[in-house]
């Protein structure tokens, strides 16, 4: 990075910067003009194999131009730092717009302009869909051209001293170009599966269009682990939870205590994570996860001691809470700690793979990655529905090669930086 040199007269001096800034501005304006003419239609990345053909032609053109017209002032300017810097600023400013304005999303197959109705200036210029817009694409294209030229010049002839430059810049070029071009082949599907059933029906995350996957998934079991239920003092007038003197959310466990100065104190006498009320309404622990969390608490308010059962409730059971002065002691259900699906994935050829899907632990199957995505949140821990995401991204290895090259270049940059710092 820091060794990049100006390689020609046209790229040097203030004139080089002015020209580069004008060029970048023209690219942005041209992109905005295309958006205006197509009422914010955006850019569709070509699909397979045209994305690869485009990448090869584009890469080949950079290589040819860089090697054949190396000394041409126009080419040295196109691969120079002033243009590179202007395009970095252009990318940053366009990203700034995309990072401030709410961006569009697709719901039920219909493009949703979150805040800006179709026909508004923002939507027509596609400022709410910045990262698939023409101005962003044009600036990125010229940026890749500029970066590619410097890369060619640093690579031919090969010198080991340029290794850090090649790794960092080359990695960035590969990750950016393959990430963008590969996006047209990225497939992300949601597969809802009920416990005890198998399915190969998936829904496109964006369009919600249903299709059949080349494999099916059988859901043997879906489990949710929760953190312990918590106690809180609730103020109905302000609809807020009052902090206790220990400034913590009280995880419920037998023997736990909490005190709210000026209000009262509490001790948990019993806690059953899974229980059901018997015929007298007294909670009795039950096996498995078919019950509800219950706690028997002893309250002391102004010297008066009383005992009560409380519960956070659930399907077909109302929550039970108890007054403490002007407030209420309530039980909040524990947050999900982990959720997982025990599945059997069955390929078209009859092969079967047993797998456990968990958040952060996707499973590979024939070029697909299967993720534990979600569940029926209304049913909470009683959910028997698992949402699995199936993702296929054929360009991922290329992007990862780019990432690892950047990291290798970065390590060398760090090493060189430390050495220079010691010399400084």
């Amino acid at each position: 990075m820091a060794e990049k040199k100006s390689t020609g007269k046209a790229g040097s001096g203030q004139a080089g910067f002015n020209g580069a800034a004008l060029f970048t501005l023209a690219a942005v304006l041209a992109g905005l003009g295309i958006e205006l003419m197509t009422t914010g239609g955006g850019l569709a990345i070509p699909g397979w194999p045209f994305n690869l053909v485009f990448l090869l032609l584009f890469g080949g053109a950079i290589l040819a131009v860089g090697l054949i017209f190396r000394e041409h002032p126009m080419v040295t300017w196109l691969g120079g730092i002033p243009l590179g810097l202007s395009l970095i600023v252009g990318l940053a400013l366009l990203s700034f717009v995309g990072g401030v304005l709410p961006q569009e999303s697709v719901v039920n197959g219909v493009l949703q302009h979150e805040k800006f109705p179709t026909g508004s200036l923002v939507a027509s210029l596609r400022l709410d869909g910045m990262f698939s817009s023409w101005p962003f694409a044009l600036v990125t294209l010229f940026f890749l051209f500029n970066l590619g030229l410097t890369l060619v010049w640093k690579t031919f002839p090969f010198r080991l001293a340029n290794l850090q430059f090649m790794l960092f810049h080359g990695g960035f070029w590969i990750a950016l170009s393959c990430g963008l071009l590969g996006n047209s082949q990225l497939q992300r599907f949601v597969v809802p599966i009920d416990e005890g059933r198998a399915t190969n029906v998936a829904y496109d995350r964006d369009t919600e269009r249903a299709l059949h996957l080349p494999f099916s998934i059988f859901l043997k079991d879906f489990q949710i682990d929760q953190y312990a239920a918590r106690l809180a003092l609730y103020d109905p007038r302000t609809d807020q939870v009052i902090e206790s003197n220990s400034k913590q959310m009280h995880d419920i466990s037998k023997g736990a205590t909490a005190e709210w100065p000026g209000v009262g104190s509490l001790t948990v006498l019993d806690y059953f994570p899974d229980a059901l009320p018997d015929s007298h309404g007294i909670p009795v622990p039950v096996e498995g996860k078919n019950g509800f969390p219950f706690a028997r608490v002893r309250l002391e308010v102004g010297g008066v001691v009383s005992e009560h059962w409380i519960t956070s409730g659930g399907p077909q059971l109302k929550p039970q809470f108890v007054p403490m002065g002007d407030y209420y002691i309530v039980m909040a259900e524990g947050e999900p700690k982990a959720f997982r699906s025990e599945v059997m994935v069955m390929g078209e050829g009859g092969e079967r793979v047993a797998a456990l899907l968990e958040v952060n632990k996707p499973v590979d199957f024939h070029g697909w990655k299967l993720y534990q995505m979600g569940y029926d949140e209304k049913a909470g821990r009683w959910s028997t529905l698992s949402l699995v995401e199936a993702v296929r991204d054929p360009w991922l290895p290329a992007v990862y090669v780019g990432f690892f090259m950047i990291m290798a270049g970065n390590l060398l940059f760090f090493w060189k930086g430390i050495k220079k710092m010691e010399e400084a």
Partner: protein, 265 residues
């Protein structure tokens, strides 16, 4: 240790830094007082390291989930940069800014106390959690130090007291910060692939991480163009505002409503 002890620990750290800083005045003439001064300043940071460690143990998860927790790390780490710079460059003034910033962040945490909560959502339970956040935090700390020294150098330049050594220091802090920023960005992408199915989705936090990375990428190319270091001090001072947006400002932007990266605290 829980948040009940936080005010006392924060106060102890600030008092140590303050006493240590004040002792620097007589330490100019008396060497023994210099040692005492450094003992106080380092003790201030050790108090925070102690609190952070025991808080981590009590929480049973890395204290890196809420904004308040990241501020705590920040307050612990930034004075260390000031101390290391002094030992490397013999530049003393940076440490006062660093301790001042740390005290400010402890004050913000005191005014906006977190709630002690052990829960860690499943998406955060990953081997990437600690490296991604810690690498970013160290990057932010280094870039904050480079921004502060950038501003200090701007003032020095106004007063015609330009220091090439101080400019070199702000440059190397930014350079190391950029290296860690790059690692943080890529660790985040690799983690996102494992947790959410794709490495980059232009989530507002990702967009701002990209913008801040571009800002420092621009800086390094300006350096390569042999831009006047005087101008670059302004650039470093201003660039940090972009990082601040990425760190917490993004939560207040209109785009944040769909973000998977919004934190409480």
């Amino acid at each position: 240790m829980t948040l009940v002890e936080f005010p006392a620990m924060a106060l102890a750290a600030v008092v140590c830094w303050l006493v240590g800083s004040l002792l620097q005045i007589p330490a100019r003439t008396t060497k023994a007082l210099g040692l005492l001064s450094w003992s106080f300043m380092i003790s201030g940071t050790l108090v925070l390291v102690w609190f952070l460690t025991s808080y981590w143990i009590a929480l049973e998860r890395p204290p890196l989930r809420t904004l308040g927790e990241t501020r705590l790390w920040y307050a612990t780490l930034i004075p260390v940069v000031g101390f290391l710079v002094e030992s490397r460059y013999r530049i003393g003034w940076l440490k006062y800014y660093c301790m001042g910033l740390a005290a400010l962040f402890l004050g913000i945490n005191y005014m906006n106390p977190d709630v002690f909560q052990k829960a860690l959502m499943p998406a955060l339970q990953s081997v990437w959690f600690v490296p991604h956040v810690v690498v970013y935090l160290v990057a932010y700390v280094l870039l904050a130090a480079s921004a502060v020294s950038g501003w200090h150098n701007v003032i020095l330049n106004f007063r015609d007291k330009r220091s090439a050594k101080a400019e070199s220091m702000s440059h190397y802090l930014a350079l190391l910060g950029f290296v860690l920023l790059t690692f943080g960005l890529i660790f985040g992408a690799l983690w996102a692939k494992e947790a959410w199915g794709h490495y980059w989705t232009w989530d507002p936090k990702e967009t701002w991480a990209f913008i801040s990375w571009l800002a420092y990428l621009g800086y390094l190319h300006l350096v390569a163009r042999k831009t006047d270091p005087k101008t670059l001090q302004w650039y470093l001072g201003l660039s940090f505002f972009v990082l601040l947006v990425c760190w917490f400002g993004v939560n207040y932007l209109p785009s944040a409503q769909n973000s998977v990266h919004t934190y409480s605290g």
